[in-house]
């Protein structure tokens, strides 16, 4: 078990190094920060001077090495655009994205599992088939369009929910939360639905197909033969076994929620790291982009690790194998 974790950690570090390299090298192609930093009336001398100051004239490996060295210390440099340490900016923005991701992830998982189980149990039912078809509409339209349509309907036409932003937030320590105010909660609804809809559909369909598979397993037949009620069979025996494969995919999905948030945050002007990233791309704010990518990778890697550990919790076979061998 310990060796396993160490091995996974090592792999994760390699993943991060590679992501770091890819992330860092891609920025060199995205655009030139100099133009946005100097105004309309700049000269070539200004450009060269700034280039030297930012270290952009140094060889690639040197730049990468510096980047890594600093990144390990949590120092991603200073945003070209905002002139503040990137770590501070990210720390400010992360709560917004994490709260949004949490709510939409929670929505996606609970609704996804509930609807997945429902459609699996009532495989032939009209309601289940309707849900299956309607859910496909959710994945057949681009996210940004769904967001815009939601704004159009609920903000502009019905004037029920705010069209952008987080509403009022409350600071708890360094964490700004929108959970504690009515306007903050209202502001969460549309973005969370927009972001969670796609993942929900995927989870629902996954749960359904896994559940159908499990419901045909021998131990479910045996449970039936022992006269256990449908409720116990469906929700105790089948669901728990369904969760084993569902957890991996769901873990990956949650990782991608944070990445997908880029689009949702752009549409709803949600003040999270995704919006920060899009802005950073617009202004070729390399330190912010690098930090964002690293953040995404760290999240992803840790979600992967958590998923693996969850496996241990849910599946006794792995637990014992790890102990016995």
């Amino acid at each position: 078990m310990f060796a396993y974790i160490v091995r996974r950690m090592l792999q994760s570090v390699i993943v991060l190094l590679v992501v770091g390299l890819v992330a860092f090298s891609m920025f060199r192609f995205v655009g030139d920060p100099i133009d946005n930093m100097l105004g309309q009336e700049r000269t070539q001398a200004d450009i060269d001077r700034l280039r030297a100051e930012l270290g952009l004239d140094q060889p690639f490996p040197v730049q990468y090495y510096k980047f890594l060295k600093n990144a390990v210390q949590g120092n991603f440099g200073v945003s070209y655009r905002q002139g503040r340490p990137v770590s501070t900016i990210i720390a400010e923005r992360a709560p917004a994205t994490l709260e949004l991701a949490f709510v939409s992830g929670f929505l996606a998982i609970t609704m996804g599992i509930a609807l997945g189980v429902f459609t699996a149990i009532r495989r032939q039912g009209i309601a289940a088939n309707l849900i299956m078809t309607v859910s496909l509409i959710g994945v057949s339209l681009p996210t940004f369009l769904i967001g815009i349509l939601l704004i159009y309907i609920f903000s502009v036409e019905l004037d029920l929910l705010p069209s952008f932003g987080r509403g009022e937030t409350v600071m708890i320590g360094n964490w700004s939360t929108g959970f504690l105010t009515a306007s903050g909660l209202k502001a969460l609804i549309l973005p969370a639905i927009t972001l969670g809809l796609y993942q929900m559909t995927l989870i629902m369909r996954l749960v359904r197909s896994e559940m159908l598979e499990v419901l045909r397993a021998d131990y479910v037949r045996f449970a039936r033969a022992r006269g256990l009620s449908d409720r116990v069979i469906n929700f105790r025996h089948a669901l728990k076994n369904t969760m084993v494969p569902v957890i991996t995919i769901t873990g990956l999905q949650l990782g991608s929620i944070i990445a997908f948030a880029i689009i949702t945050e752009t549409v709803f002007q949600w003040p999270g790291v995704g919006l920060l990233f899009i802005n950073a791309i617009q202004f070729v704010d390399i330190p912010v982009m690098a930090a964002y990518l690293m953040l995404i990778s760290v999240m992803f890697v840790s979600i992967n690790l958590i998923v693996d550990l969850l496996y241990y919790a849910i599946d006794p076979r792995l637990r014992v194998d790890a102990r016995a061998t």
Partner: protein, 521 residues
């Protein structure tokens, strides 16, 4: 300096009779810093005009009026300018404003690290005469100097030094990047870059309070549709800009109002004047047709500006004949005629130049810089197709656009130019003068156009104090530009703001939004 009146002033009510109010507004970009000397860009300067003040300021009609200086007069025969400073002015932190702050702000704003350095190119020295008198000495006579420093904002020496922000720092930032301490009508109380900035009135402001705002909040909203939705749903009180296509819809809505004006920005097509051959063409190796003025003229005649104005701009813009709009000083009234839309004439010109069969070339265009920039470029493509020349359009975000132009990766491109000085000399200096690194000339003349007469006239225009003589020279330059068809000016970009109908405000032609002219009913 009297400008043609293009500002839309809305009659103001007496501030005292109106209820105090909270005000929220949104724009596409967030000012990237609160440091008035760190970045020379319209969103920053426009925003900071609410917080900081210069010696002079511009009124609703762009005319220069006293601000921190109560009066000014030339010294000698163009040796410089003497400014008499206003007494009893306090900064937001309570400290007093005096001549030392002006000197300090000069040193700060003209230093190596300041983005605003080029404003002070003509300045040789700033001398503190007494606590409330300052002399600004210039190397050459500079009649336009006072109006060129409307955005030079004065910082408090004590505050800046105490907070270790003596030098503007754009790269790593310093205290002044997110904090501000000006003399302006509003002070910054909360600043979350990229998210929101909160302003409240400055109690000790020297001016007459014309607004009734108790708190103002600025939110950048990137997606234009989201901004429109926010305005419609009342989440914000004002947005800038309103997408042109939504103007009609907003006008129909009784809760919101659209305020339109003509901006100083002229949208034009530029050419590559230097390259021997076209870069994006099916006929590899053929000479560059755009070096021939007849071809450039043909392009000018082929573009149906009226159609663009009628459809894409929906009647919200005016055609342009020169590199500056008629509202700018130095505009050449004698050259107000733009080439007529004439497909046959354009074809004839092409044939005359030896391109009867047309040719293909590359057109570069930004897609997030000017109002409907991409749609305009598309329209240009189809119009040019009518005279048989095929444009290969590539539209890209502005972040990629400037590097692309600098690397000469274009045959034709779209450019918008807003003269920072509100004078016709400005585009000549940047867009027409032969590029010269040392003299900071022609730095946006990507196509490398070069005309000896223009280069000769430019310094003379800059030094001339006599309005008539100056105008004569500007007229001559305008004629050269038109004859040579250096650029194809198309239209003056409109300013379109949207407000809730209970808001009254003033739209200035430079697209600066000033809270001190806002009234919420």
């Amino acid at each position: 300096m009297i400008l043609r009146n293009s500002a839309i002033g809305i009659a103001m009510l007496a501030a005292t009779s109106v209820q105090a109010a909270d005000f929220k507004w949104a724009s596409t970009t967030d000012p990237q810093t609160m440091d008035p000397h760190a970045v020379n860009s319209a969103p920053v300067l426009g925003f900071l005009n609410n917080v900081y003040e210069g010696l002079v300021r511009r009124d609703k009609d762009m005319s220069v009026q006293p601000a921190l200086a109560v009066s000014w007069e030339p010294i000698g025969e163009g040796d410089g300018w003497r400014f008499k400073l206003r007494e009893g002015v306090t900064f937001h932190d309570g400290s007093t404003f005096d001549a030392q702050d002006v000197l300090f702000s000069y040193q700060r704003a003209s230093g190596e690290a300041a983005d605003t350095r080029s404003w002070f190119a003509p300045v040789s020295e700033v001398i503190v005469v007494d606590d409330y008198t300052v002399d600004v000495m210039t190397t050459a006579p500079n009649p336009l100097f006072p109006s060129s420093i409307a955005n030079w904002m004065i910082m408090d020496q004590g505050w800046t030094e105490a907070n270790d922000a003596i030098v503007p720092d754009k790269e790593t930032g310093n205290y002044a990047t997110i904090n501000a301490n000006g003399t302006g009508a509003f002070k910054v109380t909360e600043r979350e870059p990229g998210l929101k900035t909160v302003l409240v009135p400055h109690e000790g402001w020297w001016g007459d309070v014309e607004h009734n705002i108790t708190r103002a909040e600025f939110n950048p909203i990137q997606n234009p549709a989201t901004a429109v939705a926010a305005l419609l749903s009342g989440d914000v009180d004002m947005i800038n800009p309103v997408p042109i296509q939504d103007v009609a819809r907003l006008q129909e809505d009784s809760d919101v109002e659209v305020i339109k004006g003509i901006e100083a920005r002229v949208i034009m097509l530029g050419f590559d004047h230097e390259a021997e051959t076209l870069k994006y063409t099916d006929d590899e190796g053929k000479p560059n047709p755009f070096r021939d003025p007849r071809v450039r003229k043909a392009v000018a005649q082929a573009v149906n500006v009226d159609a663009i104005l009628a459809t894409i701009m929906r009647g919200n813009a005016e055609a342009a004949s020169q590199l500056v709009s008629p509202a700018m000083s130095g505009y050449s009234a004698a050259h107000a005629e733009r080439p007529a839309f004439d497909v046959e004439g354009a074809k004839a010109l092409l044939a005359e130049a030896g391109y009867a069969d047309g040719f293909s070339f590359g057109l570069k265009c930004p897609n997030d810089r000017y109002l409907n920039d991409e749609a305009v470029c598309q329209a240009v493509v189809s119009m040019l197709a009518q005279i048989g020349i095929t444009a290969d359009l590539e539209a890209m975000p502005v972040r990629n656009y400037w590097p692309e132009l600098r690397e000469d990766n274009y045959d034709m491109y779209l450019l918008g130019w807003s003269p920072g000085t509100f004078d016709a000399e400005h585009p000549v200096r940047f867009l027409v003068a032969t590029p010269n690194e040392e003299k900071k000339l022609g730095s946006w003349n990507f196509g490398g156009f070069s005309n000896a007469r223009v280069d000769e006239l430019l310094p003379a225009i800059q030094a001339e104090l006599d309005e008539t003589k100056r105008q004569a020279m500007l007229d001559e330059v305008a004629k050269i530009i038109q004859d040579e068809q250096v650029y194809v000016p198309m239209y003056v970009q409109p300013l379109v703001w949207g407000t809730r109908s209970n808001v009254e405000l003033t739209q200035r032609p430079d697209n600066f939004f000033l809270l001190r002219w806002v009234t919420v009913n």
